[in-house]
Symmetry: C2
Subunit: 233 residues, 2 copies
DNA sequence: AGTCGTCAAGAGCAGTGCTCTCGTTTTTTC
DNA sequence: GAAAAAACGAGAGCACTGCTCTTGACGACT
């Protein structure tokens, strides 16, 4: 499936890749709003209208970048998780947290494109859904692994979720099989806590008050891990 | 300070207000990226260049909207907090959580402007800092009140923050006097958890999986309250 | 009463996304 | 192998944007 049959298909695939590469570089420098089809075309030595042979609109180019971004953060999370022993569930959780934060700090504009305000009028197409949950799948697997190993012993301090939560828990459980509703609820809290922290840090909400975010982040995520009942070893 | 001395100052203040009102309406409809100075001018029956007498650039108009937005959410939070008895610390926390979420759901584009991706090249000026922390001040006061009343009894399940956290805790403590480092850390976790949840919900990250976000949100925030050691009454 | 500052209007510049047409080239079909 | 079909790059053009500069008129202070 890689090299297209005809020469035209091959050069088309190559040019498409080149366009997204240049676009990603522009995105990294000036953000999504500063991404200009004409500027990309200029850098390619093309005229602007030629770009439309490859991406029918600016939004489609952005969608390609979004998919790439989700895959990039997903891959970073997968690698961080795989580098730990399977039994070290707490370590895997912390590795995932730091992988997300490190990737976000290294690619702030891409992170903003994925987890910041959705661009106006933009509706996520089907193609973005699968890559978008790659990191969540890793997260769910850690919890399922721990639960399956009987290593998930959450402290009994939180109230149980209401019965009406069970419907949503059913859907969330697809990525973390076996977990009871209470743990699904805690998983949601930890996950939103992770991205909430990273977003606050990246979007400047910690403005001159948290000067050592790495320390506070690590401690906060460790706390989430404890609440999930994750233990090392 | 309200009504300007001269007629000119009065009409200037009036026109400035009218511009921001129209701009806020446009912002609510099509988002920050769709906010056009020319469109605002058209609706005012002015020519576009005339707007620049009142706002030197589009960014300055956005800044005015950001300040208004922070004040709006801050006021909503203040009112929700004030509607509860001072001693009902847990109730006040839940009221603040729901106030933030309700305001965000009612003003999604404004929320995105405040807590979403910062607009490219935009640097928050001094004037936005004070309004930006109005909600945080309320939050801190609830915790300080509870702590002062001896009603803050957090469950002893989380590890203590590292010593290196104390510097940042010092600064955070300015809005929640009296709280020990451990509670400051928990306060950060709960606060980022709140906005992380709202952002996930608003920006479509719960995409077709959490269909009853109100229930899950309430339960998650209740859990954060428990971890903070908040009790009713 | 005269000066100065403020104001709205208009023209204009550089840039954007996107559409359409027009030759050219490549691929497919007969 | 020749003809039909599809894909392609270039160019012009439309409607729109933020922003600047100049011009002429009005209101405010000395």
């Amino acid at each position: 499936m890689s090299a297209g049959r005809t020469a035209r298909e091959r050069v088309r695939a190559e040019l498409t890749r080149e366009i997204t590469d240049i676009a990603r570089r522009h995105l990294a420098v000036e953000g999504a709003a500063g991404l200009s089809l004409r500027a990309v075309a200029r850098e390619m030595g093309m005229v602007s209208s030629a770009i439309y042979r490859y991406f029918p609109s600016r939004d489609d180019l952005l969608t390609a970048l979004i998919i790439d971004g989700y895959n990039a953060v997903g891959e970073a999370v997968e690698n961080a998780d795989a580098a730990r022993p399977r039994g070290d569930h707490a370590g895997r959780w912390m590795a995932v947290c730091h992988a997300v934060r490190d990737w976000a700090l290294a690619h702030p504009h891409e992170y903003a494109l994925l987890y910041g305000s959705p661009v106006p009028g933009y509706k996520a197409p089907e193609d973005t859904i699968a890559p978008a949950v790659r990191d969540t799948v890793v997260y769910g697997r850690i919890l399922s692994d721990a639960h399956g190993a009987g290593a998930l012993t959450p402290p009994d301090v939180l109230p149980p979720p209401p019965a009406s939560f069970s419907q949503d828990a059913l859907r969330v459980r697809e990525v973390m099989p076996g977990l009871p509703d209470d743990l699904v609820a805690r998983a949601l809290a930890a996950w939103t806590g992770l991205f909430g922290w990273v977003s606050f840090e990246l979007f400047g909400q910690f403005n001159q008050v948290i000067l050592d975010p790495a320390t506070a982040f690590d401690h906060t995520m460790r706390g989430h891990g404890v609440l999930l009942g994750l233990r090392s070893g």
